[in-house]
Subunit: 383 residues, 2 copies
């Protein structure tokens, strides 16, 4: 399969920018100030693992009119210069006296009229990626301009993916599908879970992942206790259920789904629990059509899993981040639209303290849902 | 080589907490509020890749007296319960009405007397990992208690590593050393840099990395343009200099160093540039003794690289993060102490727009520096 093209044409970034500017007008905002990797990447295409270093802040401004303006450390000028962004202002960072705040304030004073409002992401799932003391200095340097909520504009735009974005996520899920199909090569009774974890990441890379920012793994007799712990060095034993949940990245876009493996023949309760999870995600898949709500997906899964899922969500959005808005909760009334990419992630408690979790990735199309991950059948995989 | 034990004994976490509490007393702080992965991990040992999901905030409070208190989503209760922390308060997250703020405010009102000051990290290299709107609600719910700067207490403590921390970093650097020694297996003329990048990450995992959050790579004739871009799919050609810079993790601790490879015989300018970089880092290594300053390291490297390094730093701290305080800059007057772990990272411009970067990891010992990475010799490696 030929991979999709990397990056996006400038028209796609320009369209995102224009949509944001339209919503900014509605919200009475004169600019958006972006500080985090997914926000910056969404409007500019600036893609790097260098965000792993917390040292330097990075800023992009979406003004009322025109294209975004980057205010960034010099070390990023070359890479930003290869995106569609042309107005790139840099400072030598780290700078102990003023790490970009002066330059950023100057740009905002230029781009935003006096009395104007500048939106920053402040709602659920958002962070401000700059030092708080710098944020205070920035606010003081804006004269009559005000910083307020971004009205979730970027979050709302990112909720609906373009076809090009969907193809990147499909590429990522395909890589994970192939890696999951090869787990028999690396996992068997006697192998430490930590070793499986390292080798599974290797399989993801061998199958084409750019990088693997997330791998949760768990194993236990008849189920596991949680799904966020790093792998231990305990060896797999017959009767264990092993779960691998990967968020690998291709060209900036994540997949996020898991597969369960029984080490040797599975117990009856495990087989039944697994089948119920697959039925649950299939029911949510069937309910996932434009016009339905996120709540409908929750309700579709609920009969198969009982109250097991009532202490958390049963899936979420997916894209530039491992998890994105919204959460599949009974109280989420988000209306589904074509282009939304979601994970369906039911959970069932097989016995006290022993859970199984199953996850698929789907995209909403005009007439219903489409699987991005290759859907798992009811029978649990065996190694 | 037997790896060091994973985790730390409770005494180490308790000692960190007591030191923080001593500094809190000096700074007039009644509590620290922690929100980011390295802060939370430093005091609790809570280690997970689940931070990759931006959905949920996580909080730890270091009170004036006693042990830290965790205020976290239910999904983390099992893992936090396996650390030394015993006071763990949880809420079902995500919660659209109140995602932990009420529970956190209640805990802070209980642990901090009226009029007391609560410190949050606000200086360089810090972020607040929670939604800004939630932070505003929190401040309003604290009655007479105030949130102010943490006086960089956690940053100051993390600057000096314990022997157990140093052994974890040594383990990480050793894994990278072995992976770098195997680059000849995966890189040669004709292979796309992207393929080298994926396979090098695989080598890091095969040699024992838990995960590989950072790999920068670059290649170009006689040098490269920057060191933060993701790999392209362009094939290596004879005369290229290829650079791989990895931040891999073992038990939560990073290494961060690079190696350069000439594809076929290296040009004279490349050989000389590389030798100068190695001389520069060796000079800084010789200067790195308790009582010397970070500026001394910068000055030691400066003669070998000319003005090439004047637009950035020449190294930094290393530990729970890929890059940590301080930065090796002419203006940094931090006094070196035994236990500090640093990278030495000189840069030289070989020809206009073509740079070479070299990096080593060292630890300061009572009588001088010790290499954690296996130091590179003057001759550039050839593939």
């Amino acid at each position: 399969m030929t991979p999709p093209a990397r990056g996006f044409p400038p028209e796609e970034f320009r369209a995102r920018t224009r949509k944001a500017q339209h919503l900014m007008g509605e919200a009475g905002l004169s600019a958006l100030l972006l500080t985090t990797p997914p926000e910056v990447c969404y409007y500019t295409g600036f893609l790097t693992q260098f965000w792993e270093s917390p040292t330097r802040p990075w800023f992009v401004i979406v003004p009322e009119r025109g294209d975004p303006v980057a205010v960034i450390p010099t070390i990023g000028a070359s890479l930003m210069g290869r995106t569609w962004i042309t107005d790139i202002r840099t400072w030598t960072s780290p700078n102990y006296a003023d790490d970009g705040i002066g330059l950023l304030a100057e740009a905002l004073r230029e781009l935003v009229q006096e009395g104007g409002r500048i939106g920053v992401a402040d709602g659920m799932e958002s962070h401000l990626r700059m030092p708080l003391a710098g944020f205070s200095r920035l606010k003081a340097a804006l004269d009559s301009r005000d910083i307020s909520s971004d009205a979730a504009i970027t979050r709302r735009l990112r909720l609906v993916k373009s076809d090009a974005e969907i193809e990147k996520i499909r590429r990522a899920t395909g890589i994970a599908d192939r890696a999951f199909a090869r787990v028999g090569e690396i996992a068997r009774a006697g192998v430490p879970l930590g070793e499986v974890s390292r080798r599974f990441q290797g399989l993801c890379l061998a199958e084409g992942a750019d990088w693997v920012p997330y791998l949760a793994s768990a194993a236990g007799a008849g189920g596991y206790g949680d799904v966020i712990s790093p792998a231990t060095e305990a060896a797999l034993v017959p009767g264990d259920v092993m779960m691998l949940d990967t968020g690998l990245v291709w060209d900036g876009y994540f997949c996020d789904f898991d597969r369960n493996y029984s080490v040797g023949p599975a117990a009856q309760a495990v087989r039944e629990g697994h089948a119920r999870l697959v039925e649950a995600s299939a029911a949510a898949f069937d309910a996932a059509k434009p016009g339905a709500t996120i709540r409908d997906l929750f309700q579709a899964m609920r009969p198969f899993i009982g109250s097991s899922g009532d202490t958390g969500r049963l899936g979420h959005g997916l894209g530039l981040q491992l998890t994105e808005w919204p959460s599949i909760l009974a109280e989420d009334e988000t209306v589904l639209e074509a282009g939304m990419v979601l994970t369906l992630e039911p959970l069932v408690e097989v016995s006290p303290g022993k859970i199984l979790v199953h996850e698929e990735n789907i995209v909403i199309r005009p007439t219903g849902a489409e699987y991005l991950s290759q859907p798992q059948n009811a029978e649990i995989r065996v190694v």
